[in-house]
């Protein structure tokens, strides 16, 4: 097999804060050496570019290759909320093969049959078919008994459990967070403690079961405080967030903008700032896109009838780079949140620039300016609440398994 050398770039190595000037050599699809200058056949000039691990997007709702390619996503963990639901080995196996070779889809298995929250799905068989974790989907499992049994089972199978943190009793039919915006617009809303309430229970179940529980989106100060306390206690828990909740608060919903209809709903500005602080202090482990492209049939509706979700794959990197520019975190830490932490959660030997690892790499021009344009996105649909926002940071080259794609 042919090798390739990436020369003159700055690479982000594990544990480093900043990208360092290094050459990379790739052979047989893997990173063969880092640092030593020994050109092989093909060369890729990475002058002025940052060489980073390919993004591992932890929790997407669609396999959307053009959007992932634009966004520098080389692997994606696919939520089980599909049609049909990924609750049996056949659908999981199919999903795992769908993106190859240039995109690796890691399916998350539905914890319960048809995501019904009542009856356990065939988790072990789905693991053998390629599932790398188990998820409750967009919904919370109300029955603590079944969730505890699922967590124990997953602990035995060494699979992480992805949970959605909204107490369904408290959130009811809410489409917004209680507050001035929801009141002004007359939208049904729920207190933000709906999240902390769900997290509090699931932390107890995580402790009881010893399972690795990943809180896919934690978006409130109270919720993050609980996660912080759980981590201090030594629980095996991780949590994530999307740029939507990091960079928008509930006033983005003004004028009934359905593209800002997310699940969980956008929060108050003080909760948003608490999320930024939690990225800074390490409470938040993962930034994911939550990619959920939705066409007009789902979004061009009255707000409460519209589907939640945003197309986020293309904007994930550029928006996340704001955290580096705003001195919230270092470049090195950002790629822990975008790549190595997701890989660790899924148990993959990926997400870092290490000799012997799969050569999933992106070459980034971190300062390249561009404008988000919902009408001209690579994604299956342009439902972005960041439409028209000027951003910086473009992926110039992407390698999956050592192959430029």
């Amino acid at each position: 097999m042919i090798g390739i050398s990436i020369l003159n770039g700055h690479a982000i190595l594990p544990g480093a804060d900043k990208a360092e000037p290094l050459h990379l050599h790739i052979e047989n699809g893997k990173i063969a050496s880092v640092g030593k200058a020994a050109p092989i056949a093909d060369q890729l000039d990475a002058s002025d570019l940052i060489i980073a691990p390919g993004i591992i997007d932890l929790g997407v709702f669609k396999t959307d290759k053009p959007a992932f390619r634009f966004g520098g996503i080389t692997r994606a963990a696919l939520m089980p909320d599909q049609s049909p639901v990924h609750d049996d080995p056949a659908t999981v196996r199919f999903a795992a093969l769908k993106g190859k070779p240039d995109l690796w889809v890691h399916p998350l298995a539905s914890a319960t049959q048809g995501l019904n929250g009542l009856h356990m799905a065939e988790i072990a068989l789905m693991k053998e078919a390629g599932a790398v974790g188990v998820a409750t989907g967009r919904k919370w499992i109300a029955d603590s008994g079944i969730l505890l049994r699922i967590m124990r089972y997953c602990h035995a199978l060494d699979l992480p459990v992805f949970v959605h943190s909204e107490d369904a009793g408290l959130s009811g039919n809410a489409v917004a967070t209680a507050g001035e915006t929801a009141t002004l617009l007359g939208l049904s809303s729920a207190s933000p403690i709906t999240e902390a309430l769900a997290i509090a229970r699931d932390l107890l179940l995580a402790e009881e079961s010893c399972a690795h529980v990943h809180f896919r989106q934690v978006t409130t100060e109270r919720g993050l405080d609980l996660i912080r306390a759980g981590k201090a206690k030594g629980l095996r828990i991780t949590c994530g967030i999307t740029p939507g909740h990091l960079f928008l608060s509930d006033n983005a919903v003004s004028d009934f903008r359905t593209f800002a209809h997310l699940s969980p709903p956008l929060r108050s500005e003080s909760d948003r700032l608490a999320c930024i602080a939690a990225v800074a202090d390490g409470t938040i482990d993962v930034i994911a896109s939550g990619h959920d492209p939705r066409g007009p049939e789902d979004k061009r509706l009255p707000y409460s009838e519209s589907a939640p979700g945003m197309a986020g794959a293309e904007t994930l990197l550029a928006l996340s780079l704001n955290l580096v520019r705003d001195n919230v975190i270092s470049t090195g830490r950002l790629f822990e949140l975008l790549a190595s932490n997701p890989a660790n959660i899924l148990g993959l030997n990926a997400g870092q620039i290490l000799e012997g690892y799969e050569a999933d790499l992106i070459l980034i021009d971190p300062d390249a300016p561009w404008q988000v344009d919902g009408d001209r996105m690579a994604a299956l649909a342009g439902n972005t609440p960041f439409d028209r926002l000027p951003v910086q940071g473009r992926v110039r080259h992407m390698l999956k398994g050592g192959k430029v794609i």
Partner: protein, 331 residues
């Protein structure tokens, strides 16, 4: 009672400057003088409506107005229909129950269909907050919001302010108590914005579960105790319990609700001596309001509200169609 608010011709910007909006989607965002302009314009229609058997003005002759009601309504629909007809327009009513909405057509497609029929104004009621704004963005003609979900019901607030003005002389400085299911009420929201803009003091009273979060930010004083809120009130505005919008238990029973939040003689005595009683209708007698209060013509303005409703809607239809009719200064 006469107006104490001056309405000299020069107190409003000229022409379309008096109401520079294409649609009437809500009260939030309207300027004080824009609201007052509609109320001033409505006065002439109150006079016409009381003028005898030939209550007719032909200024909207040849125009087509569609009342598209996706949610059931009797009085608002009738009020808009009469308003349009008194101004000479051809008024067509579309009920959701009879429409292709039931066949699965999307709201946008319905809007495009109405637009293609070249209506000159569309009046819309819909069960979802924001639905009317969504339709207005897809049609060429003016749109009037006749109530969307729990969001706004602007003509109700306008007719309520007109009623208060005529009974009390002015809205400014009045203490208005709004009591009931504030959470689900578009009437409460529109009235809060309208009354605050016109300078009234607004107190909202609701059981804790039916009080919207953050409503203080819009200038309302909040109460859970109705008796306490009534002290010094000039106007008591009762809201209907909106059972159709409630999911789960918000109150234990109508009986208990009336016990705490129903308006009866004893409670009304806590307000100012000549306090005005209002209700947007339809009333749930014995749930929000005792029958003897509702029927007391001295205290209750409920039927007058209905009368003002026709006048206010005539004013809105007239104002919003001036541009299309080529009225001078409104192009």
């Amino acid at each position: 009672m006469t107006w104490t608010q001056p309405f000299a011709a020069d107190s409003f910007p000229s022409g379309s400057g008096a109401f520079p909006h294409k649609h009437l989607l809500g009260i939030a965002g309207l300027q004080k003088w824009e609201i007052l302009y509609i109320l001033k314009e409505a006065e002439q229609w109150v006079a016409l409506n009381r003028s005898g058997p030939a209550k007719h003005d032909g200024r909207l002759s040849g125009l087509t107005i569609i009342n598209a009601f996706f949610e059931n309504s009797t009085r608002t629909l009738l009020s808009f229909e009469i308003a349009g007809k008194r101004l000479g327009a051809d008024v067509v009513n579309m009920h959701a129950a009879q429409s292709s909405v039931k066949k699965g057509e999307t709201l946008i497609d319905t809007a495009m269909t109405l637009n293609a029929m070249r209506a000159d104004a569309i009046v819309i009621r819909h069960g979802s907050s924001g639905a009317v704004q969504l339709i207005s963005s897809k049609v060429d003609c003016p749109v009037i919001n006749a109530g969307d979900g729990s969001h706004e019901h602007p003509t109700q607030a306008l007719l309520d302010s007109l009623t208060i003005m005529r009974r009390k002389g002015r809205v400014e400085g009045q203490t208005v108590v709004i009591c009931g299911d504030v959470l689900h009420s578009r009437v409460a929201r529109s009235n809060l914005f309208c009354l605050k803009t016109l300078g009234a003091e607004v107190r909202v009273v609701a059981p804790p579960a039916l009080m919207p979060s953050g409503i203080e930010a819009f200038g309302a004083q909040t109460f859970t105790n109705f008796d306490a809120a009534l002290n010094g009130a000039d106007v008591v505005m009762m809201l209907r319990l909106q059972n159709e919008r409630m999911q789960g238990d918000f109150i234990p029973s109508p009986r208990e609700y009336f016990h705490l939040y129903g308006l009866d003689e004893r409670r009304l005595a806590l307000a100012k001596p000549h306090a005005l009683v209002m209700h947007p209708g339809p009333m749930n007698r014995g749930v929000e309001i005792a029958s003897n209060i509702a029927d007391d013509v001295e205290r209750s303005a409920i039927t007058e509200q209905v009368e003002m409703g026709v006048a206010v809607r005539m004013a809105c239809l007239d104002i919003l169609t001036r541009k299309a009719r080529g009225q001078e200064g409104w192009s």
